[in-house]
């Protein structure tokens, strides 16, 4: 790119700050600023401005509230509560089944009895 070209872009940058550029010209200016010639210190100001506006736009996009956000958080808490309850239940689990039927019996006593028989033949 020639010096003349750089002058052209300088002029375009000035017009950008005066809001006289079209959308198409802005796109061209962005592309030029991404090129190696656009790294000239003369374009630091316009590069910084465009970069700042780009970041603002990106941030705004992320912060757009999702319509299902509250629902997702509520679902998350429900799942966590269920899993917590499930783990607690499994942790303290104790069940006895006799002849295929669940019965209220002292599982601990049965365990001790079976283990004692295993080790004291």
């Amino acid at each position: 790119m020639t010096q003349h070209d750089l002058s052209y872009w300088e002029g375009m940058a000035e017009r950008y700050f005066l809001t006289e550029t079209s959308e198409e010209e802005e796109m061209m200016l962005r592309r030029f600023l991404c090129s190696s010639e656009g790294q000239d210190p003369r374009f630091d100001e316009v590069r910084a401005t465009l970069a700042f506006l780009h970041v603002c736009r990106t941030q705004r996009t992320v912060r757009v509230s999702h319509p299902f956000r509250a629902l997702a958080i509520a679902a998350c808490f429900c799942v966590a509560a269920f899993l917590g309850w499930y783990q607690y239940r499994q942790h303290n689990m104790s069940s006895v089944r006799i002849d295929g039927e669940k019965v209220e019996a002292d599982a601990s006593r049965l365990m001790q009895q079976q283990m004692a028989e295993m080790f004291n033949p």
Binding site: S94, D99, F119
Partner: protein, 138 residues
Amino acid sequence: MKRIILFLLILPGSLLGAWAQKGMAIQTVFDEMAVKKNVTEVVMGPGRLKNYRLSFFHSLEIKAATATERQRIETLMRKDVAGAVLHEETPEHRLYELPQRGGTHYYIFYRCTGQTITLIYIEGKASLNQIKNYFQKK
């Protein structure tokens, strides 16, 4: 939003490590036999076993077991104990310790007297000697 989805995906994973018995051959025996007549099944979780340094206890006591049932149980059990690191066998009982994982011991105990079969699966931090000390009559 991504963090919430990730949380929802990771949380159930914490439960998957529970009880290695799932996937073992003797699980079939527990599933099939527990609903039959003359069978007593006992299941206990870690909260009830902390005094014994155990985290899971599952037993089946089968009274009046047929020869076919006995053979099936022994065949399936043999698959699981093929890689046992320790085994004690007497005519009446067999004790097997499976390879440790993450400091947890896995045991299969089997006893057959007459027509009564007792099959026990245990998980926990206790060694075989410690288990014997807990339950052997002094």
